[in-house]
């Protein structure tokens, strides 16, 4: 397993407020890595920081941010833009507004290839048709002449995916790509992403809050909470032996047929993600945690449970065994 994307101790702050506090994760070549957590815990900004797309008031810092051995922190905007859309691509949560309303689908897709490969317009449009076919868009020849407003949400997201694949990227970052779509379309898009990942050998960093999606897609999972990766494991390990109380809380919220009794309420995690100030210390989850103890306000150790599984908690592995 070789690391394609390596993020070490990433810190992101917006006008002094910290959004991500020392998150680390590694995406291996050809692997789907899911980043899980509830809204506001720093998943999206982590992805944007990797792409170098943070808003103007956002600042990022890390001990390492490497893509295929290249130090992304050392790249200027120009060099970064040569990577974006080319070797690393990103799709977003809002398919309805992510395409430019003023240009046809074809021209928006073609410009990626023209920018990074200097291809002619005709050749780029041919490639667009080819990729629309790949993402199972019907009558792609017609679609490239259409404008975004003429397409449904599901179609627009397929266009976004096809557009992201124009230059054969090695890494695809997908930020909740199905959240805005209705359930049947969600399933189609996820199957498409899974197939593409397998067929093209893509590495995918998939951001989601849906553990059902994780179960279907992920090779590896990182659970984020309040700007930290609180647990990281292979998907199999995470579901078999969740260690962090937050991960367990998340899992308890998912209805599992056969395990849930009709009159028994689903689990829920009380409270909300806290606002993290500059000198916040200790575990961000302690105010919502059933296992909280005084030392949770101090420095929290990262504990390992085998080579592929670690978590950020005061609880010893044996003490947290279910």
């Amino acid at each position: 397993m070789t690391a394609l994307l390596e993020v070490r101790d990433l810190e992101i702050s917006f006008s002094g407020l910290s959004a991500v506090r020392g998150a680390s994760l590694t995406v291996a070549k050809g692997e789907t890595h899911c980043l899980v957590g509830e809204s506001g815990c720093g998943k999206s900004v982590t992805a944007l920081a990797v792409m170098g797309l943070l808003a103007r008031n956002g600042a990022r810092k890390a001990t390492a941010l490497r893509f295929d051995g290249t130090d992304l922190l050392g790249l200027d905007e120009r060099a970064m833009s040569r990577l974006r859309g080319n070797r690393m691509a990103m799709i977003f949560q809002e398919p309805m507004t992510s395409l430019n309303p003023a240009y046809t689908v074809g021209s928006q897709m073609a410009e990626v290839l023209r920018r990074h490969r200097g291809t002619t317009r005709t050749a780029a449009l041919d490639r667009a048709v080819e990729l629309l076919t790949l993402v199972r868009v019907t009558s792609p020849g017609l679609r490239i002449g259409q404008y975004p407003h003429q397409l449904s949400g599901g179609l627009r997201q397929r266009v976004m995916i096809a557009m992201a694949l124009m230059c054969d990227p090695e890494l695809l970052i997908a930020d909740e790509p199905t959240t805005a779509l209705d359930v049947t379309v969600q399933a189609q898009i996820l199957r498409l992403l899974a197939d593409l990942q397998k067929d093209l050998g893509l590495a995918v960093l998939l951001i989601t809050h849906d553990l059902g999606v994780v179960a279907r897609m992920a090779h590896r999972v990182s659970v984020m909470y309040a700007g930290e990766v609180v647990e990281s494991a292979t998907a199999a390990n995470l579901f078999a032996r969740p260690m962090h109380p937050y991960t367990r809380g998340l899992l308890a919220c998912v209805p599992v047929p056969g395990k849930i009794k009709p009159d028994q309420p689903l689990g829920s995690i009380p409270g909300m993600v806290p606002q993290i100030g500059r000198d916040f210390l200790g575990c961000g989850f302690r105010e919502r945690c059933g296992h909280a103890r005084p030392d949770c306000a101090g420095t929290i150790p990262r504990r390992a449970l085998g080579p592929d599984h670690d978590y950020l908690c005061q609880l010893e592995p044996d003490a947290t065994a279910p």
Partner: protein, 305 residues
């Protein structure tokens, strides 16, 4: 697209007719036209003769339809004051006004668009504040005052530009600048706010994620979406410049349509007033129509609805 055009055209014609009716009614409300034509020394009998001769004794509705019927075929009647055909009076002066308006708009756009974009790119930084200051100054400065200051500086002291008349292109530089100044603030503000909205949109984030160049992101993806309100207001501003340049035409002694309107109003020369108002109404609606069509080209969603 054709249906869109037909609807807009119909609205344009209705607007022209409405303006026309008002212009006709207002000139009649301004006083007894026969008396003002006849002059101060005329006797009651003279006034009666004139009233008959000009058909002013007929019912007002009949006069109105008579005038509309003639106007429809291009006959705007005879000016009492200038003793010429109204259509010739206008045709003589229109090129001056059109030149002035287009020069003004060109200068305004050349200044306002880049400044608006630069301000948006530097939102709430020093550059943005400076640009807003320019807009504020432009809005606050009376155009006749700016005109006089320019004349004194560049015409008298430096002697670079002629201060009145219409002989050469140099004659249009100063009036063009003054006229532009009245349009710059609105154009600049709209460009700035439109660009700020566009730059914050999801499709710009997509464009950046695609690794497009900065120039392509700003000029191709953001500017096109920010352009629509700017196009609309530019058309309105050009309308103002063509119809409302009376002050500037007077200051710089450019005898254009604005000046003609002012003269004919002060002399109660109603055929000329009506003709000028009709012309301006047509220009105005035409400009709006062009702006709408331009926007339909810019935004495919407008073509569909």
């Amino acid at each position: 697209m054709l249906g869109f055009l037909a609807r807009r055209l119909l609205v344009a014609i209705l607007v022209c007719l409405t303006v026309l009716t008002f212009a006709f009614a207002l000139t009649r409300l301004a006083g007894d036209l026969a008396i003002s034509i006849a002059g101060a020394q005329a006797t009651a009998a003279d006034v009666e003769i004139i009233r008959k001769a000009y058909g002013l004794d007929r019912p007002i509705v009949e006069q109105f339809f008579d005038w509309v019927r003639r106007a429809a075929v291009g006959d705007l009647g005879q000016s009492y004051f200038f003793k010429e055909k109204v259509s010739k009076l206008i045709a003589d002066r229109l090129p001056i006004t059109l030149t002035l308006g287009l020069v003004g708009l060109t200068i305004a756009l050349t200044v306002a668009l880049p400044l608006g974009i630069v301000a948006a790119l530097n939102e709430s930084r020093v550059v943005d504040r400076l640009v807003s200051l320019v807009a504020l100054l432009g809005q606050a400065m009376p155009s006749f005052w700016l005109g006089l200051i320019l004349m004194i500086t560049f015409g008298l002291h430096l002697g670079w530009l002629p201060i009145s008349g219409t002989g050469t292109w140099q004659h249009f530089v100063m009036p063009g600048i003054v006229l532009a100044f009245s349009a710059i603030p609105a154009l600049l503000r709209l460009t700035r706010s439109g660009m700020i909205d566009a730059l914050a949109s999801d499709y710009i984030r997509t464009a950046r994620a695609k690794g497009l160049s900065r120039a392509s992101i700003i000029l191709k993806h953001a500017a096109r979406n920010a352009a629509m309100p700017v196009v609309s207001i530019a058309a309105v501003q050009l309308g103002f410049m063509l119809g409302g340049s009376i002050v500037i035409e007077t200051v710089f002694a450019l005898h254009g349509v604005g000046f003609l309107a002012w003269e004919s109003i002060s002399k109660n020369d109603f055929p000329t007033v009506q003709g000028v108002v009709l012309l301006l109404a047509i220009i105005y609606t035409l400009l709006t129509l062009i702006a709408d069509m331009f926007n339909a080209v810019l935004d495919p969603r407008l073509r569909a609805s």
